[in-house]
Structure formats: C-alpha cells, structure tokens
C-alpha cells in the first residue's frame, strides 16, 4: 500500500513534466499544424545552456532563466530559419525537416560535449517526505508540480484573457480571416513557436535532475512519452495534454514500479495503439481536428 501511494505520487510529479512537454507540442500544433519532432533536441540545447550558466554563476535560478530564454531563442531561429521555408505541397515536409534538425542538433551536442552523462543537481532535496509514515513526494517533486501547474495556468490565462492570446488563437484557427482583420499571422506563428520551445525547455530542465543526467539523448524518451500524451489527450486540447500527462505519468510509474523499467516503452506502445484504435483523434479531440 505504501509502495502504491509512493508510485502514484511520483507518477503525478513525472506526469506533470510529460504534460508540460506535451503542452508545448500542442502549442505548435495549434499555431502551425505541425508536430515538431525536433522539440526534444531543441529543449536539450537549451538545457545544456542552462547547465553551463549554472556552472558559471552557481545559481540554479540563473540557469533556469537562461534555459527558458534559450529555448525561446531556439524556437525563433528554427521557425524563421527553417520551418518557414518548408515546401507546403506535402504536410510531411515539415516533419522530415524536423527529423533532419534532430540529427544535426544531437550530433553537434555529441561533438561538442561528448557522450558522457553529466549529473545535474536539483535545487531541492530529492529524498521523499514521509506523510503519516508513508513516503510520498520529495521537495523537488513538489517544486516540479508547482512550477508545471502554474506555468499551465499562466498559459491558460494568456490564451483566454489577453489580446495576444486572442490573436494567437485566431491566427491558428482562421489564418486568412485573421490576416484580413489585421492580425500579423506570421508574427503570431513565430510567437507560438517561441512560447512552445520555451515551455519544452522548461520541461526538459525539470526532468533532467530526476533522470540519469544530461546527455545528447536525454530527451529522446521524454519526446516519445510526451507525444503519446499529446495523442492520448488529443493534439488540439491543452486540457487533454494536462490530464493525459498525469495519466501517462501514473501508468508509467506503476508499470516501472511493478514490472521493471524495461517494460515501460512497451507500456507506452500498447497505450498508444489502444487509444489510436479506439479514438484516432485523441480522447479530448474536437470534431474538426480530424480534418487537419
């Protein structure tokens, strides 16, 4: 029973990270109708930057800020430099370019930093707190949950309560009409990419201390899990990303805890196939999303 409670609690903390990363995929999907397969690699570049800044200044907060800003900069460069020039004839072109970008970024990181795992210290204690004799969350897990949920809350406010959010939503759903009404659609797409890449960088930064460490392939699995989350939740639905992320986090934590960590990728595959066969557009998808 103790073990179950512990696994559920850590699953929620891990799931919050998956949800955050999945949310970043949803943001790009809504802004540009593309799944950014390079999101993990881009977030990793930002994480290396954060690692370097923390090592230089000794401050975790400075590293975190540098990582998030670096992520936004990556989003800007990738959108303006590459994705804008993708041929529009086939929807696959963007995916293939993103795959090329993954290869370029990972090999560059490998050449500059080598293949070894660099441990990255968490800003808080990672030993779990006991509640009524049951080990539950560590302070770091609590920090992750609070950061992830508040970022999602801020994004929700941004999209529903501000003029920028309205323009972002309008240009994603009806680009032609928005352009006629004076919305700078191109700029909105770029802002969408920057927001998304910054959120992804934050998710990677939160994840690395709980994993093996920093390595050119640290975010590969995160991307696959987050993609599963985004599909389970429906690519158009931020709420789906949140609920899907928590679900997948808990399921993965239970599978890993009871069946071993090697089984986890199979669990993801089974979950993905099951959801896609029953509801190809995701559990929380809207009807129109299917035509995209």
């Amino acid at each position: 029973m103790d073990r179950l409670a512990f696994l559920l609690a850590t699953g929620l903390a891990r799931g919050a990270i998956f949800a955050l990363f999945a949310l970043s995929l949803v943001l790009i999907w809504r802004a540009a109708r593309i799944i950014n397969f390079a999101q993990g690699a881009m977030a990793l570049v930002a994480t290396y930057l954060a690692f370097a800044v923390t090592a230089l200044t000794g401050s975790y907060a400075a590293g975190l800020a540098a990582g998030v800003l670096g992520g936004a900069a990556m989003g800007f460069v990738v959108e303006r430099g590459l994705m804008r020039h993708a041929p529009h004839r086939s929807p696959l072109a963007g995916i293939i370019i993103a795959i090329g970008l993954v290869m370029v970024l990972q090999s560059l990181l490998g050449i500059f930093f080598g293949p070894q795992y660099r441990p990255m210290a968490a800003p808080f204690d990672e030993t779990p707190i006991f509640v009524g004799g049951v080990p539950l969350l560590s302070p770091y897990d609590l920090f992750v949950l609070v950061v992830a949920l508040s970022v999602m809350g801020i994004l929700a406010l941004l999209f529903t309560r501000t003029s920028l959010g309205l323009q972002l939503r309008a240009s994603a759903f009806a680009p032609e009409v928005s352009r006629l009404l004076g919305v700078r659609v191109d700029r909105m797409v770029t802002i969408g990419w920057m927001l998304s890449a910054a959120v992804a960088a934050l998710a990677a930064l939160l994840l690395i201390p709980t994993e093996l460490g920093l390595n050119p392939h640290s975010t590969d699995v995160l991307f696959v899990y987050a993609f599963t989350v985004a599909v389970v939740g429906g690519l158009d639905s931020p709420v789906g990303a949140l609920l899907g992320g928590l679900t997948v986090g808990v399921v993965m934590s239970l599978v890993t805890g009871y069946l071993g960590s090697t089984v986890a990728p199979i669990g993801v595959l089974v979950l993905l196939v099951a959801v896609l066969l029953v509801k190809p557009g995701g559990v929380f998808s809207m009807r129109q999303a299917r035509t995209a």
Binding site: W29, I34, I35, F37, L82, H85, A86, P87, R89, S90, P91, L92, A93, I95, I96, I97, I99, G100, L101, V102, M103, V104, L105, Q106, S107, L108, G110, I111, F112, G114, P115, D220, V221, V224, F227, T228, V231, L235, T262, V263, A264, P265, I266, V268, L269, L272, V273, L276, L277, P280, A292
Partner: protein
Amino acid sequence: MNRRLRPRLFPGLTGMPRVLTIAALLTVLALGGTFLLDPFRNFQLGTAAAYFCAVAGLSLLIGLSGQLSLGHAALMAAGGYGYALTSNALTDAGVDGVLRFVVSLVAGVAIACLLGLLLGLAAARLHGPYLAGLTLALVVAVPAITSVWSGVFRGDQGLQTAYNPVPTALERLIALEQWQAWVAIIVASVVVTALALVRRGALGLRMRAVRDDETAARLNGVPARRVKVTAFTLSAAAAGAGGAVLCFITQSVGPGGYTLAFSLLLVVAAVLGGLGSIGGAAIGSVVIVVLPWALGAGAGALDLPRELEQRLSGNLSLLVFGALLIVVMILRPDGVAGLAGTLRRRRAGSVPAPAGSASTAGPDSPLPSAAAASDAPESSDPSRTIPIER
C-alpha cells in the same frame, strides 16, 4: 508540359516486359560487378543491397501513399529475427543449404508482413504525424521487447545464426563475401522489381490518388483504407526481406543494429534519392553505406587528437545526413531522382520537339469553326490534362 520522354534504352519495350528486362539486366550487371570488388567492398555492396530493399519499400510508402514511417528499422528487425529464429530451428532439425536460406527468408518476410499489416490497420485511420509517432514508439520499444522476452530474443546480445558457406559448385570461383553479395543482390532485385511493378500498376495509381486527395479518391470508388493498409504491408514485407538479408550477411541480429538512428537513416536514404523513386532508393542506399565509411576514413586520415576523433566518429555522419535531409527537403524535395529528371528534360528541351509545337499550334488551328463547335474544347487541350506520373 507533361510531355512523356521517349526512353533511350529499349524504346520498343513497354509496360511489364520493360521493367522485367531492365531489372534482369541490372541484376546481371551488379552480379558481374562483384568480380571487380575486394571482399570488404563486396560486403558493403551486400549491405547496400539489403538496405535497398527497405529503402525502396519506405520510399514507395512515403512517396506514393503519403504515409511516413519512422519505424522501418523495427520492421527490418522483425524480418531479421524471423530469419534467425527459423534458421536456427532448421539447423537443429538438420536442414541446411539453400533450402534453409529460402525458408528462413520467407519466414522473416512473413513476420514483417504480419507486423506491417497490424501497423497498417492502425495507420489507415491516422494522419501523417500520428502515424509517424506510432512507428516512432514502435522502434523505441524494440530493445524493451527483446529484453522482456529474452528467452526467445536473447536480449541485448541478440541471436547468432549458422554460417552459410559458398555452394560447392562456386567454391573455386568466388569468395564468401562475394557469394553473400550475390544473394543480397538477387533478393533485392526480386523485391524491388515487385515494388516497381506495383508502382506502375493500378495499385500505384490508387496510392497516388489516396495521397493527393483521400476524399476524392473515395468518391471515385477507391477503397482508400484498403489501399493504405496494402501499401504499408508491402513496404513492411520489403523491409523484412532487407532485415533477413542483413541477418544472412552478418550471421547475427540484435537490437543494437535497429535503433531509432538507423530508422532515421532509412528515411534519409529515401528522401535523398527522391521519394517514390526506385532508382533514387538505390542511390540513397549506397550513400548511407558509403558516406559514414568515407567520413570515418577521412577523419582517421587527418590524424586528429584521440578524444576529438572519438567524438566525431558516428556524430559526423549523423551531422552530414541531418544537414542533407534539411537542404534536400527545402531546396530539392524531389531528391536525386528529381535532379536527374530535370537535367534530362532540359537536354531534351534544347532541341525543338514536335509534340510541343503541335500543342502551341492548337488554339490558332485553321479550323476555328470546328473548334468553336466542339462542346468540350478543354478535353483536347494537352496542357490541361492532369499529370498523374510525377
């Protein structure tokens, strides 16, 4: 503008006999070519032929039916494991020689086919990014599958298969590597010829129709889902044959050879060659075998510090391939095959073509009344016909 160019090679032959003749000719040329190569080059040629099966299948899948798979390495692994398991079972039963190879090959292809059918059934309901993600999850799960059922798949160390010697009749003539290259070339030629026939047949036409506009294809009576599933299954079978041949050449199969990086390499080969093009797939397969080796040899010759050399190994070719993928996709989405087509058209365009002059003369032909009387003048205008063949 969609003028069909007259082929220079065997202009008299058309349709299926033409494909078969050219395939047979190329196969004989490739087999003869192995005599010019040393054993290591023959090993590389055999590997390239094995990749060719998978890349041609993938290229057809992406280029013709518009379905992107990032998991073809997993399908190759299925073929390889199917081959190895059957081959080992047959060895235990006392069967060897050509029979063992053929039965194992068929088993490998069948298993990959089955997996492809299952994936295809899911894929038929999915759009591009969803399918890419599903196949991505599959290839990531391969090491997990082999270690969870390690009793069958032997985990990370993989399976070893018995060695297939050169047949006694050829023993004095050719070396082992050359024999392996021969087998790989023959399997690849059978697989790829089948794919070429599909490409130009009715199924290929339907795949293009579904790719370009699924709703319109359905309205015209094309069973879109069945076409997509068939395309995926065929492509999986080709990948399975490639995996089986690779297992035959290396006498082993393990999860380490079929990583996500390898899957992406297959995509690179298909895109570089030109999506949908068989000849392009051949060029792409050779490039993904030769370029890493050439880069490694080049970096080794530079006498770099040991640490830097270690970091460059593997990463450098990944960097080049990634950059090539981006550049080709943005600047030349048709790949090498498209480039060759452009050059040929440009050369053909420099001489005045009778077909072109006839079409420009069409509108001011000496019989305006007849043209005006015609109810459907568009249908006779060659520039308005929709190009089906790209």
